[in-house]
């Protein structure tokens, strides 16, 4: 399914917001005693990304979502930081490509 450019831009910009959220959660987790809730929030972000990435034409994001969801379940903060960097890199790259058109 070919989507409108605006639809894709909107989608990717919302991911940028999520990336910022993820960064924030990753910072908060070591200092927070109730960090399980934070991991659960990250898991939910990963779950949604897994569910919508391919639908918007980004199967790589679906794969990243799956990995983020899995790492959050395992409470693996290091992995989450690493995945979030990849996530950011991919999204910014997609945005650049879209804006070049």
């Amino acid at each position: 399914m070919i989507l409108a450019k605006d639809t894709k831009l909107k989608y990717l910009n919302r991911r940028i917001d999520e990336i910022e959220q993820l960064k924030n959660y990753c910072l908060l987790i070591p200092e927070n005693i109730n960090n399980l809730e934070l991991f659960a929030s990250i898991e939910m972000i990963g779950h949604k990304l897994k569910g919508n990435g391919s639908t918007f034409g980004y199967p790589e994001l679906t794969q990243l979502g799956l990995a983020i969801e899995g790492a959050a379940k395992k409470l693996d903060l290091e992995k989450l930081r690493e995945l979030n960097l990849k996530f950011e890199e991919r999204v910014r790259n997609y945005l650049r490509l879209l804006n070049d058109i």
């Binding site: 399914m1 070919i2 989507l3 409108a4 450019k5 639809t7 894709k8 909107k10 989608y11 919302r14 939910m44 779950h47 949604k48 897994k50 569910g51 919508n52 990435g53 391919s54 639908t55 918007f56 199967p59 679906t62 058109i101």
Partner: protein
């Protein structure tokens, strides 16, 4: 390449739909995407991030919805809980669950809870569209089915559903059916083709002790003689070439119920002998078997023929005739129970309007007059076909004369002169002179042509002056001269 809308080439938007959809997902991106996708296809879409809010709207009937698409994993109320709650007050609303959790267990659980379908994320939106279309189709069939059931249940005669008729002839036949339903006596139903003989047979079945058993009907004239025998009596494996297994005959299939043998007058003589034996001994033998089997089915026969005459002609066994003719029930032709035409027409109108999704409310006054004036040579069956045709062809909310088939030749006026079954001009029960017959024939053609003298003369092969003279003869019906 980017399009301003969804790809029209791959997903043409023909046949726009106007159904109402509710989409529930906490993923705002998907909610926006699906909402736009379905709206562009004509759907009325309501979106919710919280299943509880959707549930409240649906339960309070603030929202009339045809189908729901819901995510499984939702923050407050899960998709599964949503389905379970919906099913407490609505058993038919199609709900399609979406989930990124692709396990078989979850899919089974969802379907068991009452989901119509289960779609995996990442979504393939066209697949979801197909699922929605199927769900809506199912929903419309279910609604149609329920409406038809209601329509059927509206009709009530002698406590039976779907039996329509208020004429004296119809009531007499049905009353007799009621009285004999609890007896074991042989019943034979006489009546023209399409007059409702099977309805009487079903009434006997439904009103009697055998109503919990099967009602099996067969038209003896519709099946070749050799096949009919195996249909009625069944056969054993190897009885003849092609008999690869045992087959139950209709006598056995109708055990503890009723076997309705329609058009018994067309039964071949060798089978008549076998039928007589079965009726007397209450036992049958499958073809290719030596073993007798008891039968418990009640046999009801029907025919459009005059069996007495068939006996005289040697076409029907006299002993079978006497065996069957214990309680004869006569179902009059529709032209002899004019009061039934309109109730039946209204019933068929409702039925076919529902089946064809046509918003037809009734008949015009002229259409009613027309329906009442036709002879209905094919009886109720012909009336049913005519109404179905009218419903399909009608362009307005009311069926008019033009929507009804052109059956002028068969108008009642004409039929009063004639015997419908044989399509003769009039019955030759009394011998009349050639001169009288000549006059009757002129009357017949004159009426058939709507009293148009020129056309009548042309059809009779006489000139107009001769026709005028014939019409002025004192014996000619006064009606014709008005």
């Amino acid at each position: 390449m980017y399009l301003s809308n969804f790809d029209e080439v791959k997903f043409p938007m023909k046949n726009k739909n106007h159904s109402s959809l509710v989409i529930i997902d906490d993923d705002v991106d998907l909610l926006d995407l699906l909402s736009a996708f379905f709206r562009q296809r004509g759907y009325k879409v309501s979106t919710f991030e919280d299943a509880r809010l959707a549930l409240d709207e649906i339960e309070s009937k603030k929202l009339i919805v045809d189908a729901v698409i819901s995510d499984l994993k939702l923050p407050v109320m899960s998709g599964l809980d949503f389905i379970k709650r919906i099913r407490t007050f609505n058993s038919v609303l199609p709900i399609i669950l979406m989930t990124a959790e692709g396990s078989l267990e979850i899919a089974v659980e969802a379907i068991e809870a009452g989901a119509y379908d289960f779609v995996l994320k990442p979504l393939h939106v066209p697949q979801l569209l197909i699922s929605v279309q199927r769900a809506l189709h199912l929903n419309s069939i279910q609604a149609e089915n329920a409406n038809l059931k209601n329509l059927f249940n509206e009709q009530d005669f002698l406590g039976l559903k779907g039996i329509i008729g208020k004429s004296a002839g119809f009531k007499k036949a049905m009353e007799l059916a009621r009285r004999v339903s609890s007896s074991q006596a042989s019943i034979i139903i006489f009546g023209e083709s399409g007059s409702g003989k099977e309805v009487v047979a079903k009434a006997v079945h439904e009103l009697g002790e055998r109503k919990s058993g099967p009602f099996v009907a067969i038209n003896c004239s519709a099946i070749p003689e050799n096949l009919l025998e195996s249909e009625l009596f069944g056969y054993a494996k190897g009885a003849f070439t092609g008999a690869v297994g045992n087959k139950l005959g209709l006598f056995e299939e109708a055990n503890k119920g009723t076997l309705f043998l329609d058009e018994i007058g067309d039964l071949a003589l060798p089978l008549q002998a076998k039928l007589l034996r079965v009726l007397q001994e209450r036992k049958i033998k499958r073809i290719g078997e030596n073993q007798y089997r008891e039968i418990t089915a009640r046999v009801i026969c029907a025919t459009h023929k005059d069996l007495k005459k068939e006996v005289e002609k040697g076409n029907f066994r006299e002993d079978l005739y006497f065996r069957l003719n214990v309680i004869p029930i006569y179902m009059p032709p529709l032209r002899e129970r004019k009061e039934d035409i309109i109730p039946l027409s209204e019933y068929f109108l409702k039925k076919f309007s529902l089946l064809n999704n046509a918003n037809i409310k009734g008949f015009t006054k002229n259409a009613i007059k027309r329906l009442e004036s036709l002879a209905w040579k094919g009886n109720v069956r012909e009336l049913e076909n005519a109404i179905e045709r009218a419903v399909v062809l009608s362009n307005s909310e009311f069926v008019d004369v033009d929507d009804l088939p052109d059956l002028e030749v068969e108008s009642l006026e004409t039929k009063n002169l004639g015997e419908p079954k044989s399509n003769a001009l009039f019955s030759i029960n009394t011998i009349m002179s050639l001169e009288d017959m000549n006059k009757k024939y002129i009357e017949f053609i004159f009426k058939k042509n709507g009293f148009a003298k020129e056309q009548t003369a042309k059809e009779l092969g006489i000139d107009r002056k001769t026709l005028y003279r014939k019409l002025k003869e004192p014996e000619t019906s006064e009606v014709l001269l008005q």
